[in-house]
């Protein structure tokens, strides 16, 4: 009996399933209006800068997208960036260790912290909000302990290339961004684990009854989140050529915002990497635009807040249709 309605329904679903149209629309609107108001916006160097600036938040947003899709949350991102960044810096002084060492150390730190989150969340019934809030505090402390409260500076050129270098005139962070985006999308859409993430977030009980090991999937996403935080920490540290113990404060909120703006549902079960990327770009473009227009810093915050809410409202309206 549904047959008659089929084509319509099908189309409806397909549109909803790529629910990013709304936000994409909002994004385009904002870019257009910026391009019209300031000639300096739509220039290759400026766009390159935006992408470079967005890269770190985007990396974190990708990680937290996985987590939110499974119905969780990760507030420890910023602290993980600080810990991994400092850890990397400690081993990145010139003429000490080969370049891989700081990278592996940072990665290990990220995996450890993410794994800790996953372990506590799966083993105990403590809500992710609290667990990761705890890790956030712990991590901040660790970063300060590791660095003795001082920035860890004087890093090797090799290390500083990661965040500062260019390949064929393209800043390296952008290349990292593109590659990681590709991998994350693939993982989410084309692998069994990605599929399971949606299942776990959509209906944990049903996922279990379908033979999915919910605990394993949760471990996976939080650890993954740690790994991506480590990557972000490396890029940041290398970009500012110092390991900052107090770096990354509030990064978690920006990252989560990017994910949710990009259409990831806070209740889990839905979301796309493309949406998250657009969300991150949206935030990056706005703050770049506000600087270009030289809006006074106080008003920048107001405008930023208004635009973010506005963009998501717009998105919602589009969805309703």
């Amino acid at each position: 009996m549904i047959k008659t309605q089929s084509p319509l329904l099908a189309r409806a679903n397909r549109i909803r399933s790529l629910g990013i149209f709304g936000i994409l629309f909002a994004f385009v609107v904002i870019c257009a209006s910026l391009a019209l108001t300031t000639p300096r916006f739509l220039t290759v160097p400026n766009l390159t800068i935006i992408l470079t600036q967005v890269s770190i938040n985007a990396l974190l947003a990708f990680g937290v997208t996985f987590v939110i899709i499974t119905g969780g949350i990760d507030l420890s991102l910023g602290s993980m960036v600080a810990v991994t960044g400092v850890a990397a810096a400690l081993f990145a002084h010139p003429d000490t260790y080969p370049l891989v060492v700081p990278l592996l150390v940072a990665l290990a730190a990220g995996l450890a912290m993410g794994g800790f989150n996953g372990l506590v969340i799966t083993k105990s019934k403590v809500p992710p909000f609290i667990v990761t809030l705890g890790t956030m505090t712990i991590g901040r402390g660790l970063a300060l302990i590791l660095s003795k409260g001082r920035p860890v500076s004087n890093l090797s050129d090799g290390f500083n290339f990661i965040g500062g270098g260019q390949v064929f005139g393209i800043p390296f962070p952008i290349i990292i961004l593109v590659v990681v985006f590709g991998l994350c999308s693939l993982l989410l859409k084309k692998t069994i684990w990605g599929r399971y993430m949606y299942a776990v977030g959509g209906n944990e009980q049903a996922a279990r009854a379908s033979g999915i090991s919910v605990a394993k999937i949760k471990m996976l996403v939080y650890t993954l989140c740690g790994a991506l935080a480590a990557l972000a920490g490396i890029v940041l540290t290398s970009r500012i050529t110092t390991g900052q113990p107090n770096a990354g404060q509030g990064f978690e909120l920006d990252a989560i915002a990017a994910a949710i703006i990009g259409g990831t549902s806070t209740s889990g079960g839905s979301g796309t990497m493309t949406g998250t990327l657009i969300g991150a770009l949206l935030i990056g473009v706005i703050s770049n635009g506000l600087d270009l227009l030289n809006v006074t810093s106080y008003y920048q915050e107001v405008v930023m807040g208004v635009i973010i809410i506005g963009a998501v409202v717009l998105d919602g309206l589009n969805r309703k249709r």
Partner: protein, 290 residues
């Protein structure tokens, strides 16, 4: 001296509340205090106010409740940290402000006037630009004492040199990455119109330098910042950062402890010890590097 002899007897207990143990300069000051206390045999309770005046007041209250013999406070805010001073004095406990001042006069003050650091930095820019050119200012976290005072000092000089034009000013929130992004965006909008950058701390100064270097116009722009952290001194030596302003953490720290002990032992003491700022440039950077 005698404090050492009867160490466990009546070792003076001093409560210390620092602005933020995440700020390198402040950490240096507190390290000096601990070294000094170690030397003269005083016990310190060192706490971090994390830039929150409220937390600082609460910590002072807690010190009072614990009956410490003296309090050293590195104020978060000029006004907002004042109640702490009032409370301490009311409780009859001597309180020494270190590094920066509060509206309410404490028992003693050891430190320097942040407004002065702003003046020194901007004076240097004025000198380098011959009194005329476009300047950009990168603020610390808006509304914090250091930000307000350093801005005030800088603006005094700007008004003195009508040739200097403040092209733009934004907050970099004391953060290197933020000010780097900020500078990158400014380079897009002002390109080579910028002649000088004043960043209210070295972190942000280094961030600006990175952005300018990446854009290949560092040599055209004078960059000055404040604090003289090792990284900045290295940059001054290399010539990438044109100047920074040094304030003497070692002296502020040790002087604070000494003053506190003098007051406890009822000895005469100076009510106000000013530790002057010093401009650090390529010429004299050697003196400051250890």
């Amino acid at each position: 001296n005698q404090a050492n002899d009867d160490a466990q007897g009546d070792t003076p207990l001093i409560g210390v509340s620092m602005l933020s143990m995440q700020n390198e300069f402040i950490v240096n000051v507190s390290d000096e205090m601990e070294k000094k206390a170690e030397a003269v045999g005083a016990e310190l309770i060192m706490v971090d106010a994390e830039r929150s005046a409220l937390k600082q007041i609460e910590q002072i209250e807690s010190f009072i409740a614990q009956g410490v013999s003296a309090i050293i406070m590195n104020p978060c805010e000029v006004e907002a940290s004042s109640p702490a001073v009032t409370k301490a004095l009311a409780a009859g406990i001597p309180i020494i402000n270190v590094n920066s001042a509060t509206a309410t006069k404490p028992t003693a003050f050891v430190g320097s006037d942040d407004v002065e650091s702003g003046r020194i930095a901007m004076e240097y820019i004025a000198k380098r630009l011959g009194g005329k050119g476009n300047v950009i200012m990168i603020h610390g976290y808006m509304g914090q004492a250091a930000q307000i005072q350093r801005e005030q000092g800088a603006r005094e000089i700007l008004t003195k040199y009508p040739g200097l034009k403040l092209l733009a000013h934004q907050t970099g929130e004391w953060d290197r990455a933020k000010s780097m992004s900020l500078m990158e965006n400014w380079i897009q909008s002002y390109g080579n119109k910028v002649n000088a950058v004043f960043a209210q701390n070295d972190e942000m100064g280094m961030g600006a330098v990175k952005a300018l270097e990446a854009a290949g116009i560092k040599d055209k722009v004078v960059v000055v910042s404040i604090d003289a952290i090792p990284d900045a001194l290295r940059a001054v030596e290399k010539g990438t950062l044109d100047a920074t302003v040094f304030q003497n953490a070692a002296r502020q720290g040790s002087q604070a402890i000494e003053t506190a002990l003098k007051i406890i032992d009822k000895q005469p003491y100076e009510k106000e010890i000013l530790v002057p700022f010093q401009l650090v440039t390529k010429e004299n950077v050697a003196e400051f590097k250890k």
